[in-house]
């Protein structure tokens, strides 16, 4: 069963149409990646799912339509978005950032336990828990952003270019953790990435976006072998 489904999704900024009718899906418990070059519309797609841009077309979360609903409501249905640029609250401490991730949760009692789990995944955050988030390095802020999303105990995790500007080792670590939460907690993931190699390694399904349209889709393993994709996006 698909947890997230989009049908004929369009999105625009002002008068400019950026997404021209996308169809894609994320399976329950699966990892889907959306690949494409700069300007293809990948970030816009994630923002469309969260209601941060004007959309037309249908988006369904577990069968219920979420298009047109305010972001706060969509988030409360179990969607956590790690935005491009991380969206960290720079002037709040690391721990305050994490607590905010759990803001919308009803099960207050479990928040402390989740805080511990998140510190176990990312020990550096525990060290820096009382520091202002703005003083963290890029890699640490990315970890903070992912951790904050995890604090929401989401059903669906949206990751926007998590590898951007990060050292390879840090990227590997983050992806390892994403794989772990997908396997252990069944969190479905929609990953948007420019780094096709690492994304196709992690995902089950993949979509290739070019100027707001899906040009290829299929199992990630298939797209890895696809010649056109290899040449254009994997560089060999």
């Amino acid at each position: 069963m698909a947890l997230l489904e989009a049908a004929a999704l369009e999105a625009r900024y002002g008068p400019t149409l950026v997404l021209h009718g996308l169809d894609f899906a994320v399976e329950e418990g699966g990892i889907t990646t959306i690949l494409g070059a700069n300007g293809a519309g990948k970030t816009t797609t994630l923002r469309a799912v969260c209601g941060l841009v004007r959309t037309a077309g249908e988006i369904r979360l577990a069968g219920r339509r979420i298009d047109g609903r305010p972001t706060e409501d969509i988030v409360r249905l179990g969607v956590a978005h790690v935005p491009e640029g991380r969206g960290t609250f720079m002037e709040l401490t690391v721990e305050e950032n994490l607590r905010l991730g759990a803001y919308a949760r009803r099960d207050r009692g479990a928040v402390a336990g989740d805080l511990e789990r998140v510190y176990r995944y990312f020990p550096v955050l525990r060290e820096r828990r009382r520091q202002l988030a703005g003083t963290l390095s890029g890699g640490e802020q990315q970890m903070l952003a992912v951790a904050r999303a995890l604090m929401a105990r989401p059903r669906l995790l949206l990751l926007d270019e998590p590898s951007l500007g990060l050292a390879p080792l840090v990227v590997q670590e983050i992806f390892r953790i994403v794989r772990a939460i997908n396997r252990e907690d069944g969190v479905s993931v929609l990953l948007v990435e420019q780094n096709a190699a690492i994304a196709l390694d992690l995902a089950d399904r993949a979509y290739l976006l070019e100027t707001g349209r899906v040009v290829r889709s299929g199992a990630a393993a298939d797209l890895r072998r696809d010649d056109a994709v290899r040449r254009a996006y994997l560089g060999y």
Binding site: T71, E72, H81, G87, T88, E91, L92, R99, L100, A152
Partner: protein, 293 residues
């Protein structure tokens, strides 16, 4: 020496009032980039409501608390009903709406309560208090005390409660806040409510000194601007400190600098504003806006 200390304490009292109103201004500015020009009139109107309650026989502190609640509700409603329709409009449009609000409140107060000055009671005894060999006005000391209590409560609220944290987040980064499920619109409304309540405190503390009339807060608002400018519009604590400094400087200047007297007191506030803007626009504690390219 005694005069000096008396003037300092008196200056701290009025400074606390300026600082409170400045705090209200900064709270809203930080969250919305809008200066609520109607803040003073909202405070004035709240003070009139308190007067109505006291006149109807309510004991002072009961009326005080009731007024805080009503002011909070009023501020919240104003944000949801009056400001919300234009919250995404250009900034100057919102400024005009605030000016409209200012004018409405001022005019309504004049219509309902007339422009005749009314005395407003102080909850503090009228006998001066003697500390050591110096005599201080009880209301001055009381006003300082009330201001400190209000500030302490606000500080605890913002630092140590979830709602306070959510409000700080919403003010700093609305988009990320929405991604955490925070209803940013309501956070703004609560912010307006709190600012209105703080303003009401300022109004009720200043009314016994300057007497209650619809134009009571106009001058205070200008001092509040001076305080926020001095302290920094991006720093709530700075706004309060700025207020205290402005209050003390105003009093000392009025006492010791002969050509200032009472007419040019307002000019002191303006001079503060202009000097700060020329030297360090972001104020003592504010942060200069860093523009990323």
């Amino acid at each position: 020496m005694e005069t000096f200390l008396q003037q300092v304490v008196s200056g701290l009292a009025t400074g606390g009032i300026y600082g409170s109103l400045a705090l209200a201004l900064v709270m809203i500015y930080q969250a919305t980039d809008v200066v609520n020009y109607a803040q003073g009139e909202m405070a004035m109107f709240s003070t009139y409501l308190a007067w109505t309650l006291i006149n109807a026989g309510a004991p002072y502190w009961a009326a005080f608390l009731a007024t805080l609640v009503i002011a909070f509700a009023g501020g919240l409603l104003i944000e949801r009903v009056v400001i919300r329709p234009v919250e995404n409009a250009p900034i100057l449009t919102i400024v005009i709406v605030c000016i409209g609000l200012l004018v409405i409140l001022n005019s309504l107060a004049g219509w309902i309560y007339s422009y005749i000055q009314k005395p407003f009671p102080s909850p503090f005894p009228s006998r001066p208090i003697r500390i050591g060999s110096i005599v201080f006005g009880a209301h001055d000391l009381g006003a300082i005390g009330v201001t400190l209590v209000v500030l302490l409560l606000l500080y605890l609220f913002f630092r140590h409660t979830t709602l306070g944290l959510a409000m700080r987040a919403a003010a700093q980064n609305p988009v990320s806040s929405r991604l955490c499920g925070i209803r940013v619109g309501w956070m703004l409304a609560v912010g307006w409510g709190l600012a209105a309540a703080v303003g009401a405190v300022a109004g009720m503390m200043v009314a016994p000194i300057v007497f209650l009339d619809p134009n009571m807060m106009a001058g205070i608002l200008i001092y509040a601007f001076a305080s926020a400018t001095l302290g920094g519009f991006t720093s709530p604590g700075g706004a309060v400190v700025g207020g205290l400094v402005v209050g003390v400087v105003e009093n000392l200047a009025g006492t010791y600098v002969t050509f200032i007297g009472t007419e040019l007191k307002l000019t002191t506030a303006l001079a503060v504003i202009l000097v700060v803007l020329l030297v360090k626009p972001s104020g003592l504690f504010g942060r200069a806006a860093v523009r990323r390219v």
